[in-house]
Amino acid sequence: MATLSDSRKRELRRELESIVGPGAVLSDADELMVYESDGLTLFRALADFVVFPTSVDHVSAIVKLANRESLPFVARGAGTGLSGGCLPAEGGIVLSLMRMNRVLEVDYDNQIVVVEPGLVNLHLSWKVGPRGYYYAPDPSSQQACTIGGNIANNSGGPHTLKYGVTTNHVLGLEVVMPDGEIVWLGGKTRETCGYDLAGVFVGSEGTFGIATKIVVRILKKPQAVKTVLAVFDAIDRASAAVSAIIARGLVPAAMEMIDHLTIQAVEDAFNCGYPRDADAALLIELDGLAVGMEVQAERIVEACREAGAREIRTAKTEAERQLLWKGRKSAFGAYGRVSPAYMVMDGVIPRTKLPYVLGRVNEIVAASGLRVGNVFHAGDGNLHPNILYDPRKPGEEARVVAAGAEIMKVCAQVGGSISGEHGIGLEKVDFMPFIFSAADLALMLRLKTAFNPAGLCNPGKIFPTKKSCVEVGPVAYRPHAIEEKGLAQRF
């Protein structure tokens, strides 16, 4: 990729400022470093500019300028992604959408909300909460991640077992196409006219354009919630309980697995009341009508007992429930207590393959001389093995990456997928052939060409590439720029 001369850079900066105003363009190296990676710090790349548009017209104008200059561009939300999806190609423009964070319209009668992409996920539920509504997709990063980022990754979360992922809640999008044209895909009605372009756009990892307005469904809060913690002496029994619950015709709102190592870490860090000596715990949540809740809870308890649960606790109060969830939701942070770094995998498998695959994961990681903590969406079969390592030890990071690839292969072999919710981004481009044939990828590429013919919109993602402009593969650990500045810690 051609490097811009300093004088050309200054000219372009002035032009970008004429679009978005002063104070909304970054081009100094130390400022740009904040945007050189996302939540996966293994990959880094510097943009030429980071721009903060506040309107769809800004976004369109920036995209048109990028096209004129043949500069690659990428949209970015909170940067909490875990696959390097919002990294710039070396050089080019990052459009940070964090200043487009308004709720534009709330229509309770029709249970839809129109938001801007930079709105933080949880803030949407806060906005409609007082009227008894909420936005269902709840990624673990929901306190920080944005709806626009959720759109790009088709984000999930613990409660997607019952309520589906982001795409099941999106009705329409206003999109700035990769050539700068502004187009509506879908709308406010439940049915669209022609191909389901909104459905195709969600999960396209920023390669089909930039969403500037998003119409989402909101749901009524359930009348009642019941949260149960089932404790097991063997993780296989916990896996069996997952299948047993499904086989009894129950679909809980969430069914999350926390393994021994993770329980230790969580208890060290937060004291959530999980039994330290347990091999695994299942956090199961039912929601819905108050009436009939007990009947279903009894069936769950019965299934867990039959699978060999040694203890079953029910949250008696909302505080107890929150504490149980804290153990689950803060697990990633808690690993910081037991390891200087970890890498999270995101494989998905058919639920009945859980015991086999968890066994394989442990074998693979042990053979690499490393440790793994598992905390994941068991009900969906969405694994999150977290391989713990010390980036300062030479060669350890490479072993993590190799073990990760092995785990991905196992997921593929049992008919699973290499990503349930984190996306392919840069991280998993070379794993795509594990699950897709050349013909499958060729069709996806044609679809990409239809949306993004010039290829300037978030290049280098999703598809296997022989060589990328970005530094790929395992690299020596470096703290994120904001860590170096002492603004954040790595957990």
Binding site: N154, R190, G199, G292, K428
Partner: protein
């Protein structure tokens, strides 16, 4: 049909599976007879047939149960009907995974029967389940009343295998319930009417069968009251699996009137007077017994102050009639239009639309999946047939009404004489250009269902 191509097709699928001449009569659409119909028995055979057609530039019309064969504009040249009835197997069902993989030609009824035997179901209930196939239902995005709670094909299709216009076999998605690897190809093929590829296999999410299910009918004096009742249900704690709004004709069409089970509840305690209602709300509930019982009672309590006449449990046989209630209500149909509007606009759309037809001396029957804003109107043909222009004029007014409220309308059925006067599909706006580009990328020779779909695709 050139003899050479016919011979190759016979070689690919076996002569008994290639129909020509008079045998083609079941596949005549709008008076247009295809040149041949072929029935491959495997994905490889489908690929071989499409490759042959592509090479010869022969248009292809994919065909499942034929229940939606007349939707859209017929192709100028009918070409080859590609029937999928021999791909009718259930390939994989692991109850513990709550997923199943099925060939496209299996009928919905056959699929559901197998699943039901194992305590599960696919949460999709389109009309004509005994003829409609899984592939056809996906390609046309068909659904029924239970979509209120369970959504449409886009909410349950997790993997799809298609044969593309060049004869390549392509997979999208997978067999797991959560998957973000690569683009969401299942979404692309749902509702694409066979214009981008031929669906040959599908993997879907399943649900456990509920312990109980119940359908409740509530009668109102006017659509407006029933519309207010819908809003009240939506804002309540109830979790219905269907909310259907039927006008007087559709109430008869769905056979609701004669299907009341036992004695109804009369809100307010008065006698259960039964004047001819002008609107019926039909609400479905499922779950464990306690949940269904509580919801029925809660519904009756909510409806009382809203002008409801009686709240009655309906027989289960009403369920499959709901998706076709409007059309069944008019003995001779002149046209059927489907509207997508905001849920809050449903009752008004029905009332206004009926008025527009009346003003032109026509009668229409109206039925809606009210909670999701999908309204269907069947325009009745007179004893003395109206000119196509008169029919088209009402349809145009209806579409304008939907558009004014931010919605859109599709002409689901009409004779060719009417379709030639008003576009079948609504205008997709600027998105239409992206659709054209996708079509050009995936089917550059334009052989799949040529000219049948939105934006001339």
């Amino acid at each position: 049909m050139p003899d050479a191509l016919l011979e190759k097709l016979c070689a690919a699928v076996g002569s008994p599976n290639v129909l020509t001449g008079i045998e083609l009569s079941p596949y005549v659409v709008e008076g247009r007879t295809p040149e041949a119909a072929v029935f491959p028995a495997s994905v490889e055979e489908v690929a071989a047939v499409i490759a042959l057609a592509a090479e010869a530039g022969m248009p292809v019309t994919p065909w499942g149960g034929g229940t939606a064969a007349s939707v859209g504009l017929p192709a100028a040249r009918s070409g080859l009907v590609l029937g999928l009835r021999r791909l009718g197997r259930l390939l994989d069902h692991e109850p513990g995974d709550l997923t199943a993989t099925v060939e496209a030609g299996m009928t919905i009824a056959a699929f559901q029967a197998v699943l039901r035997g194992r305590g599960q179901w696919m949460s999709l209930d389109p009309a004509d389940a005994d003829r409609a196939t899984v592939g056809g239902v996906l390609a046309t995005n068909a659904y029924g009343p239970r979509r209120h709670l369970y959504g449409t094909a886009r909410d349950l299709l997790i993997g799809v295998t298609v044969v593309t216009a060049d004869g390549a076999v392509v997979k999208g998605g997978g067999k797991v319930v959560k998957n973000v690897a690569g683009y969401d190809l299942p979404k692309l093929f749902i509702g694409s009417y066979g214009t981008l590829g031929v669906i040959v296999e599908a993997t879907v999410k399943l649900r456990p069968l509920p312990d109980q299910e119940e359908l409740v009918g509530v009668r109102f004096d006017c659509l407006k009251d029933a519309g207010a009742a819908v809003r009240s249900i939506m804002a309540s704690d109830l979790i219905p699996n269907a909310i259907e709004l039927l006008d007087a004709s559709a109430t008869t069409g769905a056979g609701v009137a004669g299907s009341a089970r036992g004695v109804g509840t009369t809100p307010g305690g008065g006698p259960s007077a039964s004047p001819a209602p002008t609107a019926t709300l039909v609400v479905g509930f499922d779950g464990v017994r306690e949940q269904v019982d509580w919801q029925r009672a809660e519904l009756a309590r909510l409806m009382g102050p809203l002008g409801a006449h009686d709240v009655q449990s309906l027989e289960a046989r009403v369920w499959p009639r709901l998706a076709t209630a409007a059309r069944a209500a008019v003995p001779l149909t002149a046209a059927v239009m489907v509207f997508a509007v905001l849920p809050s606009q449903v009752a008004e759309t029905m009332e206004q639309g009926a008025g527009m037809a009346r003003a032109r001396g026509l009668h229409a029957a109206w039925a809606a999946h009210a909670g999701v804003g999908v309204v269907r109107a069947a325009l009745a043909a007179d004893a003395v047939p109206k000119k196509p222009a008169a029919i088209a004029a009402v349809l145009a007014e209806w579409r304008e009404m939907a558009r004014a409220g931010g919605g859109h309308a599709t002409l689901e059925w009409a004779p060719l004489s009417v379709k030639s006067q008003i576009p079948v599909w609504d205008d997709p706006g600027a998105a239409g250009r992206i659709m054209e580009r996708i079509k050009a990328q995936l089917d550059p020779r334009n052989i799949l269902n040529r000219g049948r779909f939105v934006a001339g695709i």
